[in-house]
Structure formats: structure tokens, C-alpha cells
């Protein structure tokens, strides 16, 4: 299948667990992928080397100028941009009594303001492209009663509103915006989940197992493709039935 043939795609946090899977699957489906990273230069090099036609870009989503440079570099390399996956995110497990202002700011800056910065910079070019698809990466933590850090839950919940408002604002340019809401995934940010929490989740999960990064990437790539042309402004849960 070449669902993403000709699509020019920017993925933030490309060296993360989910990010890498999205980059790989999007490339397999025919897309050209530019990805950003912040800390793992070695992995970024290896990933870029393994993905034909890809572009590796160092950029922290907290830095508006860096985001602008990364988007411009992708546009310059690909001649435009069709899709964005806002995958970069962070979580910090801190109970309420220990939360400092800077902890709150950090979560908001990375998980909420970051996707908005990236989307704004990318959409500026996508308007000229004549349409496209934006994917936000939410979390079940923002939608269900779970033992998760409040800063993570609230910022991921915010992406749901962001998707709806942006989908409405950008409909005039045929740009769709959806929010993928993964459940528990093996690896990545879920690695540190305590065993009792893990068991509790699985007890209520119809699939009875955690998801894989590839299963999330499949849905993301579907939303990037024209096959999802009638899907817009949605929270798409990929949680095995929770």
C-alpha cells in the first residue's frame, strides 16, 4: 500500500518510542518524513539513515524560533508540507503538594503550547499547499479516571479542545485536525507505570493487553492519508477497548 505516497510529513519527537514507529510506518506507506528530536542525536542519525528520503531536525518544541526553523527546513527540502504529527511530549510524576510553578509551566509548554507552535508554523505553509492533515497525540490519561500526573492529564486533555478548534478554524483550507488518544502502550512513556496500575488497566481493557507502537502508528498514518478524508475534529481512541 502507498497510502501516503507523495505526502510530505513532519513528525515531532521522532526519536521517541511512538515517534519512531510513526516515522517508519509513514515511510513504508510512501511518505517523505522529516522528524524533530532534542536529546538523542545518535538515534536520530540512525533513524534518518534507515528511512529513505528522510530529514532529521534538531528542534525543541518549547523554542518557537527552533520550531520555525525546523518547519522551514522541511518545507525547503520537500517543497512544501502536507501533514504534521505532534508527537513530542513529556510526563513528570509529581504529586500535587510537590508541584512547582516551573513543573506546571514545563508540562504546558511541551504538551500544549508545543503542538500549537508546531501546528501554527506548519499550517502557514499547508494553507498554500491547499489542504492537509494535522494529528495531535493525546492520551487516555486526559479522558479517563486514572492514576496519572495531573499536569500530564490536563495538558493531554487540552489537545482534545485544540483539535476541535483548529479543525473548525482550518476547515476553510481543507486542513483536517484529529487527536489520537492512545491507551496503554508497551514501551515509551508507559514503561514506568507501576505494576498494579498496569494490571488495573488491563482488567478493564477489552483487548486484555497493552497496545504496540505500531498499532498507534497505523491509526496515525490512516489519519494522515486521504483515506480518512471524512474524519475531522475527532478524538480517536486507540486503547484496545477501555
Amino acid at each position: 500500500m502507498n497510502d501516503l505516497a507523495g505526502k510530505r510529513i513532519l513528525v515531532t519527537g521522532g526519536t521517541g518510542h511512538l515517534g519512531e514507529a510513526i516515522c517508519r510506518r509513514a515511510t513504508e506507506l510512501g511518505g517523505r518524513v522529516a522528524f524533530t528530536w532534542t536529546r538523542n542525536a545518535e538515534k536520530a542519525s540512525a533513524l534518518a539513515a534507515s528511512l529513505e528520503g528522510s530529514l532529521s531536525l534538531e528542534a525543541d518544541v518549547r523554542d518557537a524560533a527552533a520550531v520555525e526553523r525546523a518547519v522551514n527546513a522541511a518545507v525547503a527540502a520537500f517543497g512544501g508540507l502536507d501533514c504534521v504529527v505532534n508527537n513530542a511530549g513529556m510526563s513528570q510524576v509529581l504529586p500535587l503538594p510537590l508541584l512547582e510553578e516551573e513543573d506546571i509551566d514545563l508540562a504546558v509548554d511541551v504538551n500544549l503550547k508545543g503542538p500549537l507552535r508546531v501546528t501554527r508554523a506548519a499550517v502557514r505553509h499547508m494553507i498554500r499547499t491547499g489542504g492537509g492533515s494535522v494529528v495531535l497525540m493525546g492520551s487516555i490519561a486526559g479522558h479517563k479516571l486514572l492514576d496519572v500526573p495531573v499536569t500530564y492529564a490536563m495538558t493531554k486533555a487540552g489537545l482534545s479542545g485544540m483539535a476541535k478548534a483548529l479543525a473548525s478554524e482550518l476547515k476553510r483550507f481543507s486542513i483536517r485536525v484529529n487527536n489520537v488518544v492512545p491507551g496503554m502502550v508497551d514501551g515509551g512513556i508507559a514503561r514506568g507505570i507501576p505494576e498494579d496500575h498496569r494490571k488495573a488497566f488491563l482488567a478493564h481493557c477489552a483487548a486484555g493487553r497493552p497496545g504496540t507502537a505500531l498499532e498507534i502508528a497505523e491509526v496515525v498514518c490512516f489519519l494522515l492519508s486521504d483515506r480518512s478524508s471524512y474524519v475531522n475534529a475527532q478524538d480517536i481512541a486507540v486503547d484496545g477497548g477501555f
Binding site: 499550517v123 502557514r124 505553509h125 494553507i127 498554500r128 478554524e169 476553510r172 483550507f173
Partner: protein, 463 residues
């Protein structure tokens, strides 16, 4: 031999013969001219446009028409049947009527007739009858324009404005030469309290030109009036009469200065019309055409020739408009954000811009496109205030309209006609109607040229 091209045929009114004659619009070296084919004598051709290309682009276009409701029968032929008649092609857009014949100036350029020997003021009941006739013709009419004489000399001006506001006119415009407002802060406060919109004539800030135009140096009074209007935060339109060889060089610097003032919402440039008791005798260096005025306005930083459009329904030689977002002294043409045809539609049927929901939607689209195409970030800042106000859910519709007016400047070129260029095609499209107590509504240029001097309240008949 220089080539000539006929661009249009029309009918023109001949003051000398007192009847309509065939006329044609001819392009030749020096511009586009209206040539009247009057059998009584060779009337001088009158400049219509300096540029044939401009005339072709702006004037030779299809025009929408709006037949008037309750028309009078056409019996004697245009412009003898004004009221308007069944052959008129526009309904009421801007009702404008004189509430007094008294004036404290005797300007050599004045295009109206005012008898100085007998003061006349419309009564409140006269005004109420006129208001009722306007609303009968158009129940949703919100703008009305009061003129004179000098309206501020009417002893009951505040009561008239209050009456019209109570009738539902949200925008009551008061024309003035500014002489009284310059020294009467109480009147300024009263007009501000009633949310009146002042239309100030301001043709020059040069004492010598002032003496030519007004017969006296009244520059200081004009400056003081501007300050009074600003102090009271009264919505203001400035009318500048452009006169070749007298003040046209002042237009761009004056417009630049005025557009930066918060209370000045619009500038209207009226090319000199040689009519009325004084104006018909006024001598200058020749006529100035609409496209020449537009070119002069391009001397204002931020204004370009392509910013101007013809409002839907108006004749292209009677109205040219451009709208600008303004913030912190910087202006940006809305023609760079919105399609020209949408601007034309939004200007139609009104003297002030109407930003309805669909236009706001298109504004947001145009804004995003401009941003996407890499417009100057400073221009985005100029548009920010409009965007915030247009979609502020806490504002009522009327409050939103008022706030938007303060963010959008209108520049309008609006030449009147006189005996030498009275074109029946133009008058048929006129929506600026002069209502009277009987319900008759006469197009403004017909009124100034033919009807006002028959009204003994405003003119003393010749013995």
C-alpha cells in the same frame, strides 16, 4: 492625427437649453471627456477621467440596479421627474436633507443655494415627517445625514438628533463647517452624548488657500474644531473638496494626518462641483477627475491605486471607496485581505462599511492567506484589533459596529455633478436622496442643480 475613441454614449443635461441632450464619452490625448452635443452651441468637453485604462477598468463594467419602491411616474423625462421616478435605478441609500438655510460663512466654493435674507429652520414636526417618509421607503434605514446651511446653527439641533435617534436611526450624521463646534464645547458634548456623527468640511490648513476657498482665513477654527471633536471622541468624517490649482497638493499630507486620529472614521473627497449660488462662479485651474484624486491619495503611506472599488449599485463616477484597517498610525487596505467584489457588496446600500458574519468569516480566511503568503508581521498587528472586535462574544451587535468603526477607516472619492457634467446615467444610479416633508426624494445632484433654487425656503426667486 491623434486618435480618438468613443467609450460610451449617454444623455447629459444642458443648463442653457433646460433639456437633456445626447452626449458621448470620448478618449483622446489628455484624458477621457464628456462631450455634450447641444444644438444651441458647442459646450466645452468636460474631463471625466485622466486615464482611459482607468475608465475602462472601473466605469465600463456591468452594474447592479435596485429599482426604487413607490416610484413617481416618469412624465417629463429625467431629471424633471425626480422623486425618484420609475426610471430611477437605485433606491434610497443615504437620505440627506437641509435643516436650515442659515450659515455663518459665505464660501466662494459653496455648491448650494441659501437665501441670506430670511432665516429658515425645519421644525421638529417637519423632521419627524421626513423621518417617517424615509422609514416608509426603507424600514431598516439606519443612516441619515443632516446638512444646511450650517446645521449647528439650528436652535434645536440636539432635539433633532435625539428625535432621529428615537426613530431608530443609529447613525445621525451632522454636516458642519466646524465654526461653532470650535468654540462651543457644550454642543460638542451634547452631540457626543447622542452619539452623533459629525461630517466636518476641511479643505485646507493653508491660510491663503482658506481665503480662496472660504473667503476668510478660518484655519485656526478648523484646527480647534478637530481638537474639540477629538476631546469629545465624536465619530468624524472629514470632507475635503479637491480643487485643482488650489488645494490638491494638501490632500495626501492632510489625509495622512487625519487617518491617524482615532475619532476620524472616514475621509470623503468631493471634487469641486461648479454649481450653487457661489460655486457656479468659482474660477480655478480646471476640473480634477476621480482617478486623479485616487492618484493623489496614493501619496498617503499605505494607500495604493488598487485599493479603491465601486460600491455595488453606485455609479463608478460617483463613488470610489477604499477601506483600511488602522492601528497605531499604520493602515492596511482591506482589499489586500478581502476580495474586491465582497468589498463592493459590503459597501452597497450604506455609507459606512457593514461587516456581517459572512464578511467576518472571509476576513479571517483572507487574514490566514496573507499570513500564509508571508505578509509583513506589522500588517498582522494592524488587523489584530478588527479580528478581536469582530468576534468578541461579549459585545452587542451595535457595540461591535461602533468598535469596528474605530478600527476601520474609509476613504471615499465622491464627486458631485454640476451644469457642465450633469450625466443622466450617473443621476439614475444615485442613492443619495434629498427627502422632503411631502415624501418626495430627489437625487442630491438634481436637487443642488435644479430643485433647491425652486424652493423659496432656500432661495429667493429672481424678480
Amino acid at each position: 492625427m491623434a486618435s480618438e475613441t468613443i467609450l460610451a454614449n449617454t444623455m447629459a443635461w444642458c443648463v442653457r437649453c433646460g433639456r437633456a441632450e445626447t452626449a458621448r464619452t470620448v478618449s483622446r490625448e489628455g484624458g477621457v471627456f464628456l462631450e455634450r452635443l447641444c444644438p444651441a452651441g458647442a459646450a466645452e468637453p468636460v474631463l471625466v477621467a485622466a486615464s482611459e485604462a482607468w475608465y475602462r477598468r472601473r466605469v465600463m463594467q456591468p452594474r447592479s440596479i435596485q429599482r426604487p419602491v413607490h416610484p413617481k411616474p416618469a412624465l417629463e423625462g429625467c431629471p424633471r421627474d425626480c422623486g425618484p421616478c420609475t426610471r430611477h435605478l437605485s433606491d434610497l441609500r443615504l437620505p440627506i436633507f437641509s435643516i436650515t438655510n442659515v450659515c455663518n460663512l459665505d464660501c466662494p466654493i459653496c455648491f448650494t443655494h441659501n437665501r441670506p435674507d430670511r432665516a429658515y429652520h425645519k421644525t421638529l414636526s417637519d423632521v419627524e415627517r421626513i423621518a417617517d417618509h424615509i422609514l416608509e421607503r426603507n424600514p431598516s434605514q439606519t443612516i441619515v445625514d443632516l446638512t444646511g446651511g450650517e446645521p449647528t446653527l439650528h436652535p434645536q439641533l440636539p432635539e433633532i438628533v435625539a428625535l432621529l435617534r428615537s426613530k431608530g436611526f443609529s447613525r445621525v450624521m451632522v454636516n458642519t463647517n466646524g465654526m461653532r463646534l470650535a468654540r462651543d464645547a457644550d454642543l460638542a458634548r451634547a452631540l457626543a452624548q447622542m452619539d452623533a456623527h459629525v461630517v466636518l468640511s476641511l479643505d485646507t490648513l493653508d491660510p491663503a488657500a482658506s481665503r480662496t476657498i472660504h473667503g476668510a482665513d478660518i484655519v485656526e477654527s478648523k484646527e480647534r474644531c478637530l481638537e474639540a471633536l477629538q476631546q469629545a471622541s465624536i465619530a468624524t468624517t472629514v470632507i475635503f473638496v479637491a480643487i485643482r490649482g488650489v488645494n490638491e497638493h494638501e490632500l495626501a499630507p492632510l489625509a495622512t494626518r487625519l487617518l491617524a486620529r482615532d475619532h476620524v472614521l472616514s475621509i470623503t473627497v468631493q471634487n469641486m462641483a461648479y454649481t450653487g449660488a457661489n460655486g457656479s462662479r468659482f474660477q480655478t485651474g480646471g476640473r480634477i477627475a476621480m482617478d486623479e484624486v485616487e492618484s493623489l491619495l496614493c501619496g498617503v503611506p499605505g494607500i495604493a491605486a488598487e485599493d479603491f472599488h465601486t460600491p455595488d449599485g453606485a455609479h463608478p463616477l460617483c463613488y470610489s471607496m477604499a477601506w483600511f484597517a488602522q492601528d497605531a498610525g499604520r493602515i492596511l487596505s482591506l482589499a489586500r485581505i478581502l476580495p474586491r467584489e465582497r468589498l463592493s457588496g459590503a459597501s452597497a446600500g450604506s455609507y459606512l462599511p457593514r461587516l456581517d458574519a459572512s464578511l467576518v468569516e472571509e476576513f479571517q480566511t483572507g487574514l490566514a492567506r496573507a499570513w500564509s503568503e508571508g505578509c509583513d508581521p506589522e500588517d498582522l498587528k494592524v488587523l489584530r484589533r478588527i479580528s478581536l472586535v469582530a468576534q468578541d462574544p461579549t459585545l452587542s451587535a451595535s457595540r461591535r459596529e461602533r468598535k469596528l468603526e474605530r478600527s476601520i477607516k474609509m476613504v471615499c472619492v465622491h464627486p458631485h455633478m454640476d451644469g457642465a457634467n450633469f450625466d443622466l446615467d450617473r443621476i439614475a444610479h444615485c442613492g443619495d436622496l434629498v427627502p422632503d416633508e411631502s415624501g418626495s426624494m430627489v437625487p442630491a445632484c438634481s436637487y443642488n442643480l435644479l430643485y433647491r433654487e425652486r424652493d423659496e425656503r432656500f432661495w429667493k426667486p429672481s424678480p
